[in-house]
Symmetry: C2
Subunit: 181 residues, 2 copies
DNA sequence: AATGACATGTAAGAGGTTACATGATTGT
DNA sequence: ACAATCATGTAACCTCTTACATGTCATT
């Protein structure tokens, strides 16, 4: 492991507030769900490495009979690393939509199968949109008291638009396929 | 290597017409650019494997002084494999937008750096949109003569909407950041 | 009594990228 | 003269996912 997006994502999250690995996972799955993902298989090893390098520190809350809670905080050195990364141009977007691959080869399948794929795509996007909307509301409220929600809120706006666009496409596409032939 | 999306993407492309590995790469980079990507490092090994398994066959055009052109065609067995895959539910979408990760931590960077990221994001999406629009036109023309463009055209429609939504977001986000503080 | 949230972690392997090697032909 | 396109391919590497292991506490 050398330099992955995971490293900076975690560093950035910890720059907002100290957290456990478990919390980081939840945070990504809720607030960042539209544009990034991560798994424990990356989180725990990355935390260990960041700590070893002095970019974060941990405080252990001892628990009996269950895993100790390890709360990580970013250090000055970590902040520097994060800032340096922020100055570098972003990697190009990477998008993988298997649904579209199946739709592209749609003439090889019965119409109703393709429609099913489109419907499932719509369902996934609708549920993401719902979650995004509730996070947006929550953030807007928080923003009144705390400025730190300004940038995260911006990211939520794009997620919202992308999910909406996907849902609209699904409706049109479904109709077009139904009428086809 | 066992079962990757690459395998089925290649199989699907070859189900439309016989092609070389080089052509497959171009096809993906143009018509499928909004929702999938692939590299030669995947294409050539996958072609070899698909051939070994009898899902595709090749015809070699012998060239002197440069690599022989290997034109691959799908077999009956390959069509069967493709059709079986089409019946299975699609994997959930995977999206990675590093720009948004940087924006999310925007308070750690000067405003103009974040604006720069947003502008570059817009440029990438604008150039993708342009390409998508010209492919759309081309496909619409072809569709008059050949039905096989129907499904690919559907996929282009989503790409178009997603790029447009991204561009619009960039404009709004840029303004909001400019006004911020 | 069952489910879900809390909380840590690892090993193996799938999936994908990058850099390298090679070089003729075609277009500007 | 230079750049882009045509055309193949591999080895090393990196990133990330999945399945497994473990068990408590709070809620319904």
């Amino acid at each position: 492991m050398k330099e992955s997006i995971a490293e900076y994502g975690i560093l950035g999250i910890l720059s907002k507030e100290p957290m456990t690995g478990y919390d980081i996972n939840k945070r990504v799955k809720t607030r960042m769900d539209s544009f990034w993902d991560i798994s424990y298989g990356q989180i725990y090893p990355t935390l260990r490495m960041l700590e070893k390098e002095g970019h974060i520190t941990k405080k252990v809350e001892i628990n009996e009979n269950r895993p100790n809670r390890k709360v990580y905080s970013i250090t000055e050195k970590g902040i520097k690393k994060l800032k340096k990364w922020l100055l570098k141009p972003a990697e190009p977007e990477s998008v993988k939509i298997e649904t579209l691959l199946k739709v592209a080869f749609g003439e090889q399948a019965p119409k109703n199968v393709i429609i099913k794929h489109i419907e499932e795509f719509k369902i996934r996007n609708s549920s993401k949109l719902e979650k995004t909307l509730s996070i947006e509301e929550e953030m807007k409220e928080q923003l009144q008291k705390n400025e730190k929600y300004f940038f995260p809120l911006l990211t939520v706006l794009l997620g919202k638009s992308l999910h909406k666009a996907s849902i609209e496409w699904a409706d049109t596409a479904k109709e077009l396929v139904s009428e086809h032939k």
